[in-house]
């Protein structure tokens, strides 16, 4: 076994940490407050190649592994979860299915600008009545000559509104349920494709979450990823990888909150000594640290399996489940250690606590992760 990062992975971690602390950190609270993302940060991330870490150089990426991707995601989330969400949704949920299921022409047309950060990507999967049950999508795609006509809505779409390229999972034959699904690439400004309301959220408030509306939206057949009937399969494979980045994001949020709490416990004095001198605080910190390390190991292990080309459905689910619950637990403790100040927006831990909650919900709730894990161990 080898738990040591490579020199490149170490340098990547340090680079992204510096970038996040220097460039994103000073803006995080304000972006959260205004519920708006500073897209100049996107341009900087694109310049650094954070928008296409895992894709081969020939498709505009950096040709790095999933461990690197997980490390970068963690470091972004440690400072600002919203930034990690923007990158993760773009990379795992939009660029990746195009890379894995698209043909060469689609990769050149869509993946290259996505990986280079010239375009922002999003995945349109969730619908008002199809969340975790992705096979139940209703958004219909009806063939018409060389095109398909899309009708329906997608909801809670991360990077929606701002995104340029959307992978949209549709139903081509409702009778066949999940076997009657397909995935299309739809570009912003395609006639008939508009955005509904912007969601106002508890956390990750700087990231955009929009409703997508398709009204007789004509999409050419050549925009279909894979073949008709593969929509559900593509969605599931996409979420497998996506879970690794959500796990990494959860670890990052927890790490950020833990570091804040650790530092604060050493400077905050009550009854004439720092609160870190109290065993009650010490045990909290010890538990926070231990859980984060466990979550990180699960996350990096699932990234390792993916890099090795091995099945990691169960491991990704475990990592995402544990890291998300760890993140929620740790951030609540961090707020507790900060006391009244933790509840105030003067300090970042309350933001981190709000940001952590979504990791237990999106890309499969914790309950769904348990189902995935149970299905794997009981079969």
């Amino acid at each position: 076994m080898n738990f040591k990062l490579t020199e490149e992975q170490e340098l990547l971690r340090k680079t992204v940490r510096d970038f996040a602390e220097n460039e994103i950190g000073p803006k995080a609270a304000e972006m959260d407050e205004k519920e708006d993302y500073d897209w100049s940060l996107w341009d900087k991330m694109a310049e650094m190649g954070l928008t296409g870490i895992v894709f081969p150089e020939k498709y505009g990426g950096a040709g790095m592994d999933y461990i690197s991707y997980a490390l970068a995601t963690e470091e972004l989330a440690r400072v600002d979860a919203s930034s990690s969400v923007v990158i993760a949704a773009h990379t795992s949920l939009c660029s990746w299915p195009i890379y894995a299921f698209g043909n060469e022409e689609q990769k050149q047309r869509f993946l290259v600008p996505l990986a280079e950060g010239k375009k922002l990507g999003a995945l349109g999967l969730t619908e008002p009545s199809a969340g975790s049950d992705a096979g139940a999508v209703k958004l219909s795609a009806v063939p018409d000559g060389n095109d398909y006509i899309l009708n329906g809505t997608k909801t809670f779409i991360t990077n929606g509104g701002k995104g340029d390229i959307y992978v949209v999972v549709v139903s081509t034959d409702k009778a066949k349920k999940h076997r009657g699904t397909a995935a299309f690439v739809v570009e912003k400004d395609t006639p008939g494709f508009t955005f509904g309301k912007k969601e106002h959220k508890l956390g990750i408030r700087a990231s955009y979450t929009y409703e997508l509306i398709f009204e007789n939206c004509r999409v050419p057949k050549e925009n279909m990823l894979g073949s008709d009937g593969e929509g559900f399969k593509i969605a599931m494979a996409t979420l497998d990888g996506g879970r690794i980045s959500i796990a990494a994001q959860a670890v990052g949020i927890a790490q950020g909150a833990y570091e804040q709490a650790l530092a604060y416990s050493k400077i905050r004095e009550q009854f004439g000594r720092p609160i870190s001198a109290n065993q009650g605080i010490q045990w909290m910190l010890a538990d926070m640290h231990t859980r984060i390390e466990a979550a990180r190991l699960l996350t990096l292990h699932s990234a390792y399996l993916r890099d090795a080309g091995q099945s990691h459905t169960k491991e990704s689910a475990m990592a995402k489940l544990y890291a998300a619950e760890c993140s929620m637990w740790v951030t609540v403790k961090a707020v507790q250690i900060f006391g009244g100040y933790g509840y105030s927006r003067e300090y970042p831990v309350e933001r981190m606590m709000r940001d952590a909650k979504i990791t237990e919900i999106y890309e499969g709730t914790s309950e769904v992760q348990r189902i995935v894990i149970a299905n794997n161990i009981l079969r």
Binding site: T15, D18, E47, M48, G52, E57, A62, G63
Partner: protein, 255 residues
């Protein structure tokens, strides 16, 4: 043009310094490229982008200084040399002698380094290198242009700044404000591992330890006495401000 960038690996500026056995404890300290050297590397890369050529990074340090060198390569430097002096007992004289010897084996139009390192803050290595190589030096440069065998450098001087013209080759040291160093790109990080990183020792340069022996001898290390926290002057802002003025006058007798 051929540019040599001198870099040093230093403690992270956030590092907590502790003593162990009368010396600085290096355990668990995270190491970074000296921030002033980052300005130097960035400027070298900008000049290369503008005029063509190549950037060679040279450092003196233990093997772990590889990390700082890799960062420079990931930023875009072409090749690098790390000279391990084989001892920790070195001073600015040692470092300058080694750097000058290593650089003298290269072709160069410009040598650029940070004007000081944030660890020992001595601000003398680059100047010493210039003296050994008999090159002119311009320190604390905040703006640099290279044109036809000469450099125009704006440098900090007492009470202002001066615009200096200097023929190349020359030594330039970077002051904060010269540029904003780029972050290594992801592609750069991947490419860095394929770029030449020559690790050598003193004998590879034809030097022996006595020729570069430190002139300075450190007698003791200590931690600064903690500044005792003073008093918080209570009251509403206006009230406290008045009390403060009084305390500075009557108690501290300083105004």
């Amino acid at each position: 043009m051929k540019i040599v960038a001198l870099v040093k690996q230093t403690f992270d500026s956030e590092a907590k310094i502790a003593l162990e056995g009368g010396k600085i404890n290096r355990q668990g300290i995270s190491l970074i490229m000296n921030p002033y050297d980052e300005y130097a590397v960035e400027e070298a890369l900008k000049l290369k982008e503008k005029h063509g050529g190549e950037v060679t990074v040279v450092t003196v340090g233990p093997d772990e200084a590889t990390e700082a060198v890799r960062q420079a390569l990931a930023m875009g430097a072409d090749q690098s040399i790390l000279v391990n002096p084989g001892t920790e007992d070195i001073d600015e004289y040692t470092t300058a002698k080694i750097l000058a010897k290593a650089v003298s084996g290269l072709e160069y139009d410009l040598i650029i380094g940070g004007f000081r390192a944030i660890d020992d803050g001595s601000a003398q290595v680059a100047g010493r290198v210039a003296e050994i190589l008999n090159l002119p030096v311009v320190n604390m440069v905040t703006k640099l242009e290279v044109d036809g065998g000469k450099a125009i450098a704006t440098s900090d001087i007492e009470g202002g700044s001066a615009v200096m013209e200097v023929p190349l080759p020359a030594v330039i040291t970077a002051q904060k404000g010269l540029n904003e160093p780029r972050y290594p790109s992801m592609k750069g990080i991947m490419q860095a591992k394929k770029k030449p990183l020559k690790k050598i020792g003193l004998s590879d340069l034809g030097l022996d330890a006595s020729q570069v022996a430190a002139k300075v001898k450190v007698l003791s290390y200590s931690l600064p006495p903690a500044r005792a926290a003073g008093k918080i002057i209570p009251g509403e802002p206006a009230e406290a401000a008045a009390a403060l003025a009084k305390a500075l006058r009557e108690e501290a007798k300083i105004i």
